[in-house]
């Protein structure tokens, strides 16, 4: 199962490191990544494989949100089907 992680917020040191160390601890593999900084605003989208994590999806949603709150950015994870549903037939 794949998830899409989006990170939005003011750029600072260590955003990618924090997110990636969470993913690595949970056994979540990063499949693709895109990152940009526009006028000091950090924007990252990651496609990840969550098949090997034992956690329920809702728990990851909460944990990533909390991680975002501690480092001052917004982090979301969504099931990829919402994007497939909208853009693929």
């Amino acid at each position: 199962m794949k998830g899409v992680i989006t990170v939005l917020g003011k750029d600072q040191v260590g955003i990618i490191a924090s997110v990636c160390s969470y993913l690595s601890n949970e056994g979540i593999n990063i499949l693709d990544i895109s990152q940009s900084i526009v006028q000091g605003f950090f924007n990252m989208i990651m496609v990840v494989d969550v098949t090997n994590t034992g956690k329920p999806f809702e728990q990851m949603v909460n944990e990533l949100r909390e991680l975002g709150e501690t480092i001052g950015v917004q982090i979301k994870i969504q099931h990829e089907d919402i994007f497939n549903g909208m853009h693929r037939i």
Binding site: I45, I77, Q78, H79, I82, F83, N84, M86, R88
Partner: protein, 452 residues
Amino acid sequence: MITFQEISETNKMFAESHLDVRTITLGVSLLDCADENIERFNQKIYEKITKSAENLVKTGNEIAMQYGVPIVNKRISVTPIAIAAAGCRARRYLSVAKTLDRAAQAVGVNFIGGFSALLQKGSTESDKALVRSIPEALSNTERVCSCLNLASTRDGINMNAVAKSGRIIKEMAELSKDKGCIACAKFVVFCNAVEDNPFMAGAFHGVTERENVINVGVSGPGVVKRALEEVRGADFETLCETIKRTAFKITRVGQLVALEASKRMGIPFGSLDLSLAPTPEMNDSVAEILQEMGLEQPGAPGSTAAIAILNDNVKKGGVMASSYVGGLSGAFIPVSEDHGMIEAVKSGALSLEKLEAMTCVCSVGIDMAAIPGDTSPETISGVIADEMAIGMINGKTTAVRIIPAIGKNVGDTLEFGGLLGSAPVMPVSGVSCADFIKRGGRIPAPIHSFRN
């Protein structure tokens, strides 16, 4: 694999354009709760509703979390009480309304629809008891919604019920005048009511439906408006194509949520209603779409054409995206729930008469419009009769949800708060229709109803 651009596009729809699943509505049949004792009936319906809907709110929240889709409301619709409670042979159904209210509160939903009767051809004793109970029931409960079907293309218009509806609307406005006449916002009359509508106040679980069913209403006028900004000034073909493509994407979200809710709750998926329903928020307005199309404000000449284009192309895009499109599916134009409509009324651009014209081609009818508190019941019935005639002749659903603002006049505003918004009082013609309304009886079905 999905592209980053597509991911951004979807998330912008949620974050900036207020795309949301407006409601997951669980339909519950109460036919098997029939009892000759009203207390036992109430107990049975309470148990059935709370058991059927015990996981509704939880499931809705889980789906919202997993997909990052806002799911605004979780609601319940039940078998029309006039049918389900007929065995009780009671004179009044206030206790039934209170039971529905308690059941809705117990499972955490904000509205429960189905305190309803289908009167298009006439009234049973139970229908009469229900209608008699509506003003008291809606003034003494918070979550209960009621609708009456007064007419259909097949059966004509029950003018006795139209006359009665004018009186009960006035009565419940009086009864709830200390709360902004809020009871009237929970009551709607229909022509050609649909049995799988997930939207309040008109939701009920039709007698031809299954035991339980999940109906989903998806919304997103802001997304359509944003898409139209990209093609500003382009010709009508481009305009229609853009609306269609956007409606398709919006509907796919609803389809996904509906199937997931159905799977998780083990309840069959009924239908997806792809109505564009506004909220009082900026960028969540049907009026803004009309403005983006090129009208200064709704109510300008061209408004009926514009809403016709919107309604038709929402349907065309939507039906491609889901196997079971149902409900009302089109564009809603409630006055109080759309800041652009409110401004149009306040500036004098939009009159009740122009609103009526727009209802000929939009998905429902005159919705959430406030009128002066001293409007006579006969005049209210006249407005209803006109709307019923539009529905009957054109073979479409039409509705009236109108609020006499007791103690207020044109220039004043009724405040409801929340999704219901605020309603500026609209002027109503003072020319009498009293003698027309008091004739009574039934208007026969139109000639084109004989299609066999």
